[in-house]
């Protein structure tokens, strides 16, 4: 699959959450609630976004291959940074009713139990946690305490590599049970199940965004550093040194403009040297720090 990265001006859109959803009917209530608009007409999968609120969504289609392909595709095409959270939400089978009950997945396996992932920071105050089994084919004999879907495992395995386990979330809504089996997916019913849960979904989005903000603060390269990187030639190891020393310097001297450190620098080495010199006066627990 050829992935053309979106040409971006500057740092590009600042996405917080990347949604991977199998069915259009699962996506519609979220598209509506988050005011997403269709974008990127040349993309292989349907893609929606809201750059203001930081949401990006891809509709993958049913099955693990589609879920894996769509997850990788959108990550590559939009150059998603490591602090972005990934959410897979959709319907699933469950032994017991009520239909429409929302779960967070704490463990996802394949049918034989040979592949297993433990995704997500657990939002147990918002919804119960359970186990998900991802099947290759639909089934209709559900074990107790286990959800069944056809995408979750592949999504979890890939998304956690692009970000981390704690920012990879799977939420499933019970669409059918042992006594109320789904013979054919009815898009209107699916939409209704999702719509019923939009209040909780809005809350979980807030929680997830708080984690994303924290991770972005930890991982993002400051604009001040980017300016210096564009001004001088830094080798890969010097770039790593610059980023580390800048973080230490910023913590020690939060009110000093960075430009003061490299005013007289003529090379990357000078910038590093100047930072090192300044840092010799940094000391832990100085008054006012």
């Amino acid at each position: 699959m050829l992935i053309n990265k979106q040409k971006k001006l500057g740092r590009g859109p600042d996405f917080s959450i990347c949604w991977v959803v199998a069915l259009p009917s699962e996506a519609r209530p979220i598209i509506s609630a988050l005011r997403l608009t269709k974008t990127d007409n040349e993309a292989v999968f349907p893609i929606y976004k809201n750059e203001v609120s930081g949401h990006l969504m891809i509709i993958s289609g049913i099955g693990q291959i589609n879920a894996a392909a769509a997850t990788s595709y959108i990550c590559g095409r939009y150059d998603i940074p490591a602090w972005v959270a990934w959410i897979n939400i959709g319907i699933a089978g469950y032994a017991e009713e009520p239909l429409g009950k929302l779960f967070q997945v704490a463990k996802v396996t394949n049918e034989r139990g040979t592949r297993v992932v433990y995704p997500g920071f657990r939002l147990s105050k918002l919804m119960p946690l359970t186990t998900l089994e991802t099947r290759e084919q639909p089934c209709n004999d559900y074990k107790a305490d286990t959800l069944y879907d056809m995408e979750g495992l592949a999504f979890a395995e890939l998304a956690s590599r692009f970000s981390c386990n704690e920012l990879t979330f799977l939420f499933k809504i019970v669409s059918d049970s042992n006594v109320n089996q789904l013979r054919r997916i009815n898009p209107l019913c699916v939409e209704k199940l999702l719509t019923l849960n939009m209040d909780v979904i809005a809350l979980l989005v807030d929680e997830v965004k708080a984690f994303v903000r924290e991770e972005k603060r930890r991982l993002d390269i400051s604009h001040e550093v980017e300016v210096v990187l564009s001004k001088f030639h830094f080798s890969a190891s010097r770039k790593a040194q610059l980023i580390q020393k800048y973080r230490r310097w910023k913590t020690a001297f939060p009110d000093t403009p960075f430009s003061e450190v490299y005013t007289h620098a003529k090379s990357a080495g000078d910038v590093i040297h100047s930072l090192e010199e300044t840092l010799t006066s940094a000391v832990f627990d100085r008054p006012g720090s």
Partner: protein, 334 residues
């Protein structure tokens, strides 16, 4: 609050598993094959996980008792440690556990009897001289006691063993079962300490120093031997005044003869561990100071380390007999 407990299939029917589970009636239980499948995954985010760690109940299969690292000890030649638990309730910014494990979840090994059996074997294999066992190397010895009952079960193993000591290393003010039991002279309750101002910034989620001092005073008054552990020594603005105040406040309240031992050691990290911890907390003030790297170890450097060691010794001299004071050295210093 622990909301999720992962349980190894193998220990589902253990009585101790059931007791621990009964303390978390509302938790979600998830069955796993082995604890490593949750604990050792490489894509975990320690920092986010630390906000709400899960508990993993597991069975340990080997390495119940291990030789303590060289330079780690309080006067005996033979030193061993055991870890019935990995990770800690507290979130101390200098702690090596942050760089050691990819997971912040707590692992509790419930097969205590296998630890006891290996402790017995270690004692018989080392029939000559004194031995010290250290608990609290990969966790806090007391902080999880209400859930684990580990000490309640373990202390009797050490009753009446004249040539065997047990050190419980802690920052906890949770003093049971110690307050309810008759003090054991071979069981040293060793409190990790640093100046209050520094602990407020670094010992996240841990009891304040004043509460730790109250706790160790209570234990000392009951007759438990007390260890004071200034490890690591933290270099900071006005560090001499801070440590002077700390030592003075300890010596003022501790009854004569209550101090079993004092140890101190520098802040040091293996280079890779330092790098891991820095990546987790790049905005931590503690790491702003220019530390030195030599032979794969990141430290304050010999000059500062020696100055801090000399100062601590000067504060203690006269008040505590020198044969009770020990310096913890890393392997590169020996």
């Amino acid at each position: 609050m622990i909301d999720t407990i992962f349980i190894e299939q193998e220990i589902l029917d253990y009585e101790r598993t059931k007791v621990v589970l009964s303390k978390f009636p509302r938790s979600r239980r998830i069955i796993i094959s082995r604890y490593q499948e949750v604990f050792n995954k490489r894509t975990q985010n320690f920092r986010l996980q630390k906000k709400r760690p899960a508990l993993i109940l597991a069975s340990k299969h080997k390495n119940f008792v291990l030789p303590a690292p060289a330079g780690f000890g309080i006067g005996t030649e033979k030193n061993f440690y055991f870890s019935h638990m990995y990770n800690c309730l507290y979130d101390c910014r200098y702690c090596f556990l942050q760089g050691m494990y990819s997971s912040a979840n707590y692992v509790l090994f419930v097969n205590y009897e296998d630890f006891y059996s290996q402790i017995e074997t270690t004692i018989s294999d080392n029939a000559e001289g004194r031995i010290t066992f250290f608990s609290g190397y990969d966790c806090d010895s007391l902080a999880f006691e209400k859930i684990s009952d580990f000490l309640k079960n373990t202390l009797p193993i050490f009753y009446g063993r004249e040539r065997v000591d047990l050190e419980l290393r802690t920052k906890s003010v949770q003093l049971e079962p110690l307050l309810s039991l008759k003090p054991q002279q071979n069981c040293i309750v060793a409190f990790s300490l640093m100046p209050e101002e520094l602990a407020q910034k670094l010992d996240n989620k841990a009891p304040s120093i004043s509460r730790r001092i109250s706790a160790l005073t209570r234990l000392a008054e009951r007759g438990w031997p007390i260890g004071l552990r200034f490890d690591p020594l933290i270099y900071s603005y006005d560090w001499k005044e801070k440590y002077e105040r700390l030592v003075r406040s300890l010596l003022e309240v501790l009854p004569n003869g209550a101090i079993h031992s004092i140890s101190y050691g520098p802040l040091r990290f293996p280079k890779k561990m330092y790098s891991e911890i820095f990546k987790l907390y790049p905005d931590e003030d503690l790491f702003s100071f220019s530390m030195k790297e030599a032979n794969g170890i990141v430290s304050y450097g010999n000059e500062i380390e020696d100055e801090m060691s000399d100062f601590i010794l000067s504060q203690l001299s006269g008040a505590v007999s020198s044969d009770k004071i020990f310096q913890c050295l890393s392997e590169t210093q020996i």
